[in-house]
């Protein structure tokens, strides 16, 4: 069964610093999709960044980037120059090929210290 694991229930970082959130997953597939979603206290989950497994290049969206290690089945999220508005629950998600469902990790609560 496909599973997603986020081993850090909580993380904190100083404003303007860099933080990395960990995510590992288990799958026997070779072509799949990975996502990071952010859920601020207002509750709506917002897509932060996405990665196709067939692409070797790590995805980047402004201050957000991923370190995708396919062999290690690792998909970490790096947030550079952390801002107060980055405080949220972050969910890593996996989508199998040909499927519509997302398989989520447990989430990491990120706190930004001013």
């Amino acid at each position: 069964a496909q599973t997603v694991t986020q081993s850090q229930p909580e993380m904190s970082v100083q404003e303007a610093e860099t933080v990395t959130l960990s995510c590992t997953y288990d799958t026997s597939e070779s072509d799949y999709y990975l996502f990071w979603y952010k859920q601020p206290p207002s509750r709506q989950m917002i897509l932060v960044i996405r990665q196709e497994a067939y692409k070797q290049q790590n995805a980047t969206e402004n201050r957000f980037s991923v370190n995708f290690q396919k062999a290690a089945k690792s998909f970490s999220l790096k947030i550079s120059d952390s801002q107060l508005g980055d405080a949220a629950m972050y969910f890593c998600a996996y989508r199998p090929p040909g499927a519509q469902k997302l398989v989520f990790g447990q989430g990491t609560r990120l706190t930004i210290n001013p």
Binding site: L47, E52, F91, Q100, L102
Partner: protein, 121 residues
């Protein structure tokens, strides 16, 4: 930017009663989803819906659950006879194309609503 909207934000229901959770997906989206998150646990997929029929469902989505798109805008999740363990946050989501298809291929993210907190007493 268009959003997925869910109503109500909080629903309190007696055990055994029927409950309907409502969602208005983004207007040009074609695929619709329900997920749930029991307090302290992972977000879990329930069902996806396309062209007026269920396209994928999880083991959680048993006979007590049903989904419907009664008109051109609403997407509902009905729980026929609620149990205490149905207490959870329920999230609706929508996407424009089938994941993996369309312009951008897999870059068709699911857009989520704020969720409805369902409390079964």
């Amino acid at each position: 930017e268009p959003e997925v909207t869910q109503t109500p934000s909080h629903q309190v229901t007696q055990m055994g009663q029927e409950v309907i959770l409502r969602c208005v997906p983004i207007s040009n989206h074609l695929y619709f989803y329900w997920y749930r998150q029991i307090l302290g646990q992972k977000v879990e997929f329930l069902v996806s819906f396309y062209n007026n029929e269920i396209s994928e469902k999880s083991e959680i989505f048993d006979d007590q659950f049903s989904v419907e798109r009664p008109d051109g805008s609403n997407f509902t999740l009905k729980i026929r006879s609620t149990k205490l363990e149905d207490s959870a946050m329920y999230f609706c989501a929508s996407s424009h194309n089938r994941p993996g298809q369309g312009p951008g291929g897999s870059n068709q993210p699911q857009h989520f609503g704020d969720g409805t907190r369902l409390s079964i007493l």
